[in-house]
Amino acid sequence: MSKNIYLDYASTTPVDPRVVKAMLPFFSKKFGNTMSLHSFGQEAQQVLEESRIVVADLMKAEPNEIVFTGSATESNNLALKGIAFANKSKGKHIIISSIEHDCIIESSKWLEKQGFEITKLPVDQYGLINPEDIKKSIKKETILVSIIHGSNEIGTIQPIEQIGKICREKGVCFHTDASQSFGKIPIDVKKMNIDLLSASSHKMYGPKGIACLFVKEGTKIEPILHGGGQELRLRSSTINVSGIVGFAQACRICQKEIQKEGKKMIKLRDKLISVVLKKIPNSYLNGHPKKRLPNNANFRFDFIEGESIVIQLDLLGIAVSTGSACSSAKLEPSHVLLATGLKHEQAHGSLRVSLGRWTTKKDINYFLKVLPLIIKKLRKISPFKKND
């Protein structure tokens, strides 16, 4: 019998049925435009503001500090370009890490073309930034530091609070991409000294096409979408009410279940990691053993290539992902894995397994049963090593 086991929650999550239920009235019945003066519009406006409170609560922000956007990519673009253009009279220097998501890397490259200076900080073998490096890199012209919270690939969690403190002391704006961590680990933007934070609904059992950017009150930022002036004039576009209702409902559920779910996930994740490393020779963990997202495991297997592992698993009904070049459109291995010091040939053999709300012990056991067989089979075909 063919299985259907989803272990790629870091890529996207199914929408929680409770979220779907909350969204349904907002398609055909409560469909109003928040900008309209009539009751249809005012009903939409009210639910928008109620939702804003819920999303703000989960990161300990104020409701007027939440700007809804269409995706985490958009939030990250708005953070970088918006801060850059609003503060260019102060300076044109921006600091990011070498393990940021493509949307930060590409936005930085674009800003470089517009005359901004980008410093890309290295990470250690676990993917960790040294906060001291940030301290040293900040100069008079620095207007923004943007560091990812939890790595989408290797799961490493950065010392955000410490980094935020440094930026606050130096008077530099601090942005973090929390797409993978929001809803999974507690976030307190005040305690963590965060000025801007990107979060995404579809990584936490909400719908796709909705995300937000937290912008601390008083932050100087320019919009990148101009028009009707929605979202405190920072993001003109008709409000996606059903999406926002779904995002808020997803936050409510995470708020309630974050502790319990985190504990369950860490237990499953640690079992998965220990058994894989024990059962499979020449296998390694990418990322930090402890400072990592509760649901992320990222492995590396010598002598074989990641796409082959992913497809073998897919044929057995298990969905995972890889940072191998062969699976990417650019035919380049993941820049995150390379930044941790892996060689190209090592990065090719990587496998990301990410767990979620509906992952069971049984799923993990089945995965642990078939993975060693697949690795063995592919190694048998490989010219590099026999008889593992």
Partner: protein
Amino acid sequence: MTKIISKAGSYNQKVVKCFKNPKNYGQIKNPDGVGEVGNPVCGDVMKLYIKVAKNKKGEEIVKDIKFETFGCVAAIATSSILTQIAKGKTLKEALKIDNKKIIKSLGGLPPIKVHCSVLAANALKKAIGDYYSRNDSKKNE
């Protein structure tokens, strides 16, 4: 609607089948020719082993052929189909197998994976070349 066996970067069913159940993989002891192509840095390495014999007409043929491949689905599938095409062919015929022939036998490859078929064709040419050069040096001894 076509049934998706595996989305796998849009590989077709034949490619997936060749990948899932590859033929002729492993080593040949005391091969008559070996061809290795690719580079682990790029993510593809293919190693082909051939055994050469003569047919009734006295022509040299690929009597046995095996492969070892480090690489993606396309790399493994093209290696496997290549060994199936080449087995039993005269060396002259085998040298004519190009990547177009390999792609055709697989019913197509995603454009980004065409280089795997080029690698496979080159591996065979290299293995046969190795056989010829070994023979030449034997003759010269």
